[in-house]
Symmetry: C2
């Protein structure tokens, strides 16, 4: 089984405070990444779902940014309070969370 | 255009020298990542292909490990000399490089 059933990318890019773009790191993506990774492991999806930290995913002003492959579903403005829904609905049941999907905007 | 046409993940995990698993970082994945990112930008795919660095992609002994989404093609034992072929054949022409594909083995 070389390929995860789902692979979640979490942007951990951090820009200095005051940068006009903002950044996912500034919005708490390190803790969000750690939390999602723990949820996946502790609740039994650890052998099917991979959670990876990345550098900038180019949607800085709409962070925290997540991407879920191979579904190719991108989420924006993700907060800690959204993780339960992402975990249950998308990662466990395979139904993307519509309300969090990234709009069709250019890369930053 | 919120989603890249192709998204290449490069594992940059580094373990201490002598670790039995080995690691992609030890095999030069930082330079490989920088090189691939530059190729994509300088040769005109920068607005369609995203190249991201990640933590461990769980195929340590077969690193350097790359994953290409949404194709869901995983490559193992990638070396600097393979980048030209990955770039030309897969990223530009959309044909995965068979000889580099990761075998069907468990995560490490």
């Amino acid at each position: 089984m070389p390929k995860p059933e789902r692979h979640v990318l979490v942007c951990l890019n951090t820009r200095p405070p005051g940068n006009p773009k903002g950044s996912c790191g500034e919005k708490g993506s390190e803790v969000l990444f750690d939390t999602l990774k723990s949820m996946v492991k502790e609740r039994g999806l650890g052998d099917r779902v991979m959670v990876s930290r990345t550098n900038c995913l180019k949607h800085c002003s709409r962070g925290i940014t997540l991407a879920v492959y191979p579904d190719n579903v991108w989420y924006g403005r993700v907060e800690m309070g959204d993780l339960e829904e992402i975990y249950q609905r998308h990662l466990r049941e395979g139904r993307p969370v519509e309300r969090l999907q990234m709009p069709d905007i250019p890369w930053e």
